[in-house]
């Protein structure tokens, strides 16, 4: 599955490694022109950079940066979306930290995160299974990947039927109906199981690509030394796949924290708000109950959780960029 694009981009966003340095040295002439009085060329180039960047920056500023700040501001207000907002200080947060549902949502977010992290190992397992050159394997690989391109709504629908206690396939297999989505104990697990289906497919494709770029000599050498099976996988293959694993974990964590579609379609956060997560809880509060300020506070908490991760990721990226 190696082809032009991957080959160009193997140095990827995370680590351009050696190639970055010579490239920037190539660009040195431009820097030199940045003196006290810039030359006309430098000025023209700076103007070009500005013009090229302006449209994207304006859009991102309006639709991404400003909304984040606005949400943080709103979280200190009491607002129903229509009348004047009133400043209430930390009241939304106080209420939030005393709300039972908030803790349910938080707990479910943790369940999502932990169970979702099964997707990378499962994806690796499938990738190892499919990493053979037999007739028709290409189409088999693409079919294995197909669930990922389905919309969350469709996946949610499919699995709601699968779990249906009267007509569902699960009831047929078990011989009796289990109301997976109607039972507060099982609902979250039922949804995560459904969500793992496309996510495993995603991780699988990442690992399949990773496997194509393994160092064959190292593997042969290890094989000579008698490395087989698990020890080979653990000591030789996995270290080589580390960038892939990192990527798989990144997309899985983001996916877990963003989970919304499946919950909305399968349970609507129910029964009794038992399967809600922060993302759904905030949507519910804003759209159904018009509690904009409170909902913004939930969003800020979610953002805070993600921020830890964003900062970690950015530092890692910028470090390797150096």
């Amino acid at each position: 599955m190696s082809h032009s694009v991957t080959r160009h981009t193997v140095d990827g966003p995370v680590q351009p490694g050696g190639s970055a340095l010579p490239a920037s040295r190539d660009r040195a002439p431009n820097v030199r022109t940045r003196g006290r009085r810039p030359s006309p060329t430098a000025r023209r180039q700076r103007r070009a950079a500005f013009l090229f960047l302006a449209p994207a920056c304006v859009m991102v500023a309006i639709y991404v940066i400003w909304p984040i700040l606005s949400t943080i501001r709103l979280s200190f207000f009491n607002w129903d979306g229509m009348t004047e907002p009133t400043f209430v200080g930390l009241a939304n947060y106080v209420e939030l930290f005393n709300a039972q549902t908030f803790y349910t949502a938080l707990k479910n977010n943790v369940i999502w995160l932990l169970l979702f992290l099964l997707a990378p190992p499962m994806g690796l397992a499938v990738a190892l299974y499919l990493n053979q050159a037999v007739a028709g394997i290409r189409i088999v690989k693409s079919l294995f990947f197909a669930p990922f391109v389905l919309s969350g709504v469709v996946v949610g629908l499919i699995f709601s039927w699968f779990y249906d206690p009267t007509f569902g396939l699960l009831a047929l297999i078990l011989g009796h109906g289990v109301p997976v989505l109607g039972d507060p104990r099982y609902a979250t697990f039922g949804i995560v199981f459904a969500a793992l289906w496309p996510q495993t497919a995603y991780c699988m494709i990442l690992y399949l690509t990773g496997l194509t770029s393994l160092n064959a000599e190292q593997i042969e050498a290890a094989r000579m030394e008698g490395a087989r099976g698990w020890s080979m996988l653990w000591h030789v293959i996995l270290p080589q796949l580390r960038p892939t694993t990192f990527m798989a974990i990144v997309v899985t964590i983001i996916g877990a924290l963003r989970s919304f579609d499946l919950i909305s379609v399968m349970t609507g956060g129910g029964p009794f708000e038992s399967s809600t997560v922060l993302a759904y809880y905030m949507y519910d509060q804003a759209i159904k109950y018009y509690r904009i300020g409170y909902s913004a506070a939930v969003a800020v908490v979610l953002f805070g959780i993600m921020l830890v991760y964003i900062v970690y990721h950015l530092r890692r990226m910028l470090r390797t960029e150096q």
């Binding site: 966003p13 190539d26 991102v60 639709y63 197909a146 699968f162 494709i205 963003r258 979610l302």
Partner: protein, 283 residues
């Protein structure tokens, strides 16, 4: 190669492997197959309780005609097209320019700008919900496809700019310098030199963004109300509410919703996978 190539296996195990492949595939795709089969099952059969068996009569045309005519499916589908196509074109156009600038020019704030684009990708979209909804209301685009287009263009631009910036950085810089010496202005460098070279990356992005936007449900819920501008994801979810027992019709709707992104994926698989696994092999 890992695991050991199959040619080096014992013939018996090799045969077992080849035998398990279709079975594994069948189990893996069972949910999809079930929907496909259900979408051609007749209503009578469903009322008899044959939900999962092989259908005795095929009602392909009846079901799809019914799903298309008795619900505004076609309208939703068209809305999805109206949202997705401009969103893909817009975000890629903006990102190509931004990625070009970030990769080619050195200026203060370059890396912080780049970091902003990267960070924007990881933001939980829910944080943006209330202000974006408000903004759409104020701009008077709420409940129109424009609201969704504007948002998707802005949000996807970050991801695409990151992708293209790294891609352009890999190109030999001499090309740009040579063009400048030849007297090409910056726009010509971008349009005539760089753009043709990044075509594969643009294709990969286009297909990825297409799937993301086509499958979006959250923003469609937030920025539309009722049927006017609702895309197909909302339409299918609504079908489920209206026709709780008409599984065949809801299945037909789901197939319609899934078809474009699945077809796109199979048609442009190479690019799709390249875009998705971008950066997954080194780092």
């Amino acid at each position: 190669m890992f695991p050991i190539p199959i040619d080096k296996w014992k013939p018996a195990t090799r045969r077992v492997y080849k035998l398990t492949l279709p079975i594994a595939l069948l189990i893996w795709l069972l949910p999809m197959i079930a929907v496909l089969v259900t979408s051609v099952r007749s209503t009578e059969e469903l009322s008899e309780g044959n939900y999962w068996g092989w259908p005795k009569h095929f009602a392909l045309f009846d079901n799809y005609r019914e799903a298309l005519t008795t619900s505004p499916m076609l309208h939703y589908f068209w809305n999805s097209v109206l949202i997705t196509v401009p969103a893909v074109i817009g975000s890629i156009a903006l990102a190509a320019m931004a990625g070009f600038a970030l990769a080619i020019y050195r200026f203060r704030g370059n890396s912080s700008l780049f970091a902003t684009f990267v960070a924007g990708n990881f933001v939980p979209v829910q944080v943006l919900m209330i202000p974006v909804r408000d903004l759409s209301l104020q701009l008077g685009v709420f409940n129109t496809v424009s609201a969704l287009i504007l948002f998707h263009v802005s949000f996807q631009t970050g991801f695409c700019a990151l992708f293209l910036r790294n891609f352009i950085k890999q190109l030999p810089f001499e090309l740009v310098e040579a063009a400048r010496i030849e007297g090409a202005n910056e726009w010509t460098v971008f349009f005539k030199i760089v753009l043709p070279l990044i075509r594969p990356a643009l294709a990969a992005l286009a297909i990825l963004v297409f799937t993301f936007v086509w499958n979006d449900y959250f923003w469609a819920l937030c920025l539309t109300q009722g049927d006017d501008a609702a895309p197909i994801t909302v339409g299918v979810a609504a079908l489920k509410g209206q026709w709780t027992t008409a599984w065949n019709l809801v299945s037909a709707g789901s197939i319609l919703a899934a078809l474009p992104s699945v077809a796109m994926f199979f048609a442009m698989q190479k690019h799709f996978v390249a875009g998705l696994t971008f950066g997954a092999t080194k780092g």
